[in-house]
Amino acid sequence: MKIQFTLNGTPHDLEVEPSDLLIDVVRDRLGIKSPKRGCGKGDCGACTVLMNGRSIRSCLVLAAEADGQDLATVESLSANGPNDLQQALIRRNAFQCGYCAPGVILAATELLARQPHPSEEEIREAIAGNLCRCTGYEAIIDAVRDVAKPTRKPARARKGAKR
């Protein structure tokens, strides 16, 4: 079947099987590799992409369902190098292996677009569906907060923070 969607601003016309998953089309057909195949069943969030600005699981969405939609991955954020959120994450050394990073960044991007000054609770809730097995989340949350409240001093490093 024929579908068309926009990915990171570029329109695509594609012939897909109804059983093709969105993540496979994005990665293997279009070569956009930031969404990762993690658990493959919607649990881990590594496959997160933005569909019309909402973060969704591309491993649970058929490519056919993306027909006519506007998709974005983390590649769209860095046209001019890492954006403010990404730089804050780098400063905080918020990732180690990086497998979860694209999903976390997109989930946080959606949050900040909707709520530029989120509370810590809102930040935690927004990234709750993105599992990170390296860092314990604290540095990620601190980095999102740095961007959320740029006028404030960065939060002090936590004493005895576990890594």
């Binding site: 109804p18 919607g42 649970l60 369902e65 935690r124 709750a128 569906g129 993105n130």
Partner: protein, 321 residues
């Protein structure tokens, strides 16, 4: 994934025609994609109903009720203006289910019709009762998350968080089909596994859920769910409590194959509008008095009791301790 025919319904008539031909509905796909990939439900024919925009609406009725479209997302329900004041139990259930990515796609009808999370059911390697096989593997296996109340031999728990709330509020599930619109009381829509080990609801294959009607919202309500992790986890016990102005409705979730009405607790509270700690505790005890836990899940009888007590007190505006 096994290949399948994929049809796109342009309108409701097209969707109903596809159902008559044996197509299975694809809406948000959150649960169905998983079942297809695992080979647990290898459907030959799917019909997308994404174009049925009229099923997305969430509306207040003139006389103070709510009409929730079948394709309203959990995120959409959670964001409905003033819902935490209008119907706190529904706001709580919709905003705490799974994660933001799931709530952005998951639909109301999909939440009610999602298949159980039982790990034996979810594995194509186990020909269990729910798949038409001859035994339930939970009895001799890992059964901590399974039913703690009297059920048939299949010991699933119903996975929906919205279902207990809608049953407690006396909602009606409206379908469309060959004989036109039908209304099912939410409390009669779900079935226990002694009546049907295969299907969790009475919904016929050729009917499409189109909306959920709440003619009146409960005067007071609360929903409590208890999980191992505070976010993005399946509850191990939950309770919806609703006061309709003359009677309490208490429905447990995630503890039985269907939203579990705590009839004994409802009767014990007859004539009591406002509850104190002691009365809430007595009702909670009554709610689990007929529990029949399995080898690994007796702890969830205590969890269920705590959920009932806390939901009742919260519905009365009291902070449970």
């Amino acid at each position: 994934m096994k290949p399948f025919d994929y049809a796109i319904a342009e309108n409701r008539a097209g969707a109903l025609a596809a159902l008559q031909q044996g197509y299975r509905v694809l809406a948000g796909g959150v649960d169905l994609a998983d079942l297809l990939k695992e080979g647990v439900e290898p459907h030959d024919r799917l019909v997308s109903i994404d174009a049925l925009d009229d099923l997305r609406a969430i509306e207040r009725t003139e006389d103070g009720g709510l009409r929730l479209g079948a394709l309203a997302t959990l995120a959409g329900i959670a964001a409905f203006p003033d819902l935490p004041r209008l119907f706190p139990a529904l706001a709580e259930a919709a905003s705490n289910t799974a994660s933001p990515e799931v709530r952005a796609r998951a639909t109301l009808a999909g939440n009610l019709l999602q298949r159980p999370r039982c790990w034996y059911y979810r594995s194509a390697d186990f020909p269990c009762l729910k798949k038409g096989g001859s035994q339930c593997y939970a009895w001799a296996g890992e059964n901590a998350p399974h039913s703690i109340f009297p059920s048939g031999a299949c010991r699933i728990v119903h996975p929906s968080s919205l279902a207990p709330v809608l049953v407690a509020a006396g909602a009606e599930i409206v379908t469309d089909g060959p004989d036109g619109e039908r209304r099912y009381r939410a409390g009669e829509f779900f079935v226990n596994t002694d009546r049907d080990p295969i299907n969790e609801t009475v919904l016929p294959q050729n009917e499409l859920v189109v909306r959920v009607d709440l003619d009146e919202l409960p005067a007071r309500s609360a929903y409590i769910e208890l999980k191992e992790r505070q976010v993005y986890d399946w509850p191990l016990a939950s309770c919806a409590a609703a006061w309709d102005g003359s009677k309490w409705h208490i429905v447990l979730g995630h503890v039985a194959p269907l939203p579990w009405r705590a009839v004994a607790a409802e009767e014990l509270l007859q004539g009591h509008a406002d509850l104190d700690e002691a009365l809430a505790e007595r009702a909670a005890e009554a709610a689990v008095s007929d529990a029949q836990p399995m080898s690994q899940n007796a702890f969830r009888v205590r969890w269920a009791r705590a959920a009932v007590r806390r939901a009742l007190l919260k519905a009365c505006g009291k902070e449970p301790v």
